[in-house]
């Protein structure tokens, strides 16, 4: 069974802090994704990565950066946290398929509060 593990379920940080969210997957997936989930807005893609050291911006990358130094680990970084980044953050991974249709596997999420 695929396992996507996010390092924290709940996190509280202060405005201006640099925040790291970590995600690890154990299925040798090429693709990894970071989303934020907000009521009424659904899931919005922040960044994704299809290989080590490769990254692409999603729909809402402003205020975030990512790091993928190893295939199994994908980190989301809030460079200077702000209150509007209070949200649920979801990590996902998937195989790099020959075509489309590869399902994404999600972690439990990290509920981040910025005070």
């Amino acid at each position: 069974d695929v396992k996507v593990t996010q390092s924290s379920r709940y996190l509280v940080k202060r405005t201006g802090e640099k925040v790291f969210l970590e995600c690890v997957q154990d299925m040798d997936h090429e693709n990894m994704f970071w989303y934020r989930q907000d009521p009424g807005l659904g899931l919005r893609l922040i960044y994704f990565s299809y290989d080590v050291k490769m990254k692409e911006k999603g729909d809402i990358p402003e205020g975030y950066s990512v790091s993928r130094e190893k295939k199994e680990r994908f980190s989301l970084i809030l460079e200077s946290a702000s209150t509007n980044q209070t949200s649920m953050y979801l990590c996902a991974s998937s195989f790099l398929g020959q075509g489309r249709g590869q399902p994404q596997h999600f972690g439990d999420g990290t509920r981040l509060s910025i005070l």
């Binding site: 994704f33 009424g40 893609l45």
Partner: protein, 110 residues
């Protein structure tokens, strides 16, 4: 640009009644569509995808290219179907990027 619309934020259905969760999409190419579900206190998980043409937990979804819809249906609702449901569209790129709808919270009334 690709877009997924789920017009209902909330949907309440009596147990045993039919369920239909609506999903419409806009996409210039040939779409790959999915339904994901999140039960209370559980992680988001794949429910079904249109290329598989399968029925999962009694749910089916048919891709209607003419109406650009991918509605999720179940003939007889069960209490355990209460959850948040997201429709998603896969990008044409090889990276399997998904565009999600805003979700529908389904509540089954006993």
């Amino acid at each position: 640009a690709q877009r997924v619309t789920q017009p209902e934020k909330l949907l309440s259905v009596f147990k045993g009644a039919p369920v239909e969760l609506k999903c419409n999409y806009s996409y210039s190419g040939s779409p790959e569509l999915f339904w994901y579900v999140q039960y209370s206190r559980q992680r988001l998980q794949l429910l079904l995808r249109h290329i598989s043409r399968e029925s999962i937990k009694g749910f089916t979804a048919d891709l209607n290219k003419g109406e650009t819809s991918f509605h999720l249906k179940k003939p007889f609702a069960q209490e355990e179907d209460s959850a948040m449901y997201y429709c998603a569209l896969s990008s044409i790129s090889r990276n399997e990027k998904l565009t999600f709808g805003t979700g529908t919270r389904l509540t089954i009334i006993p």
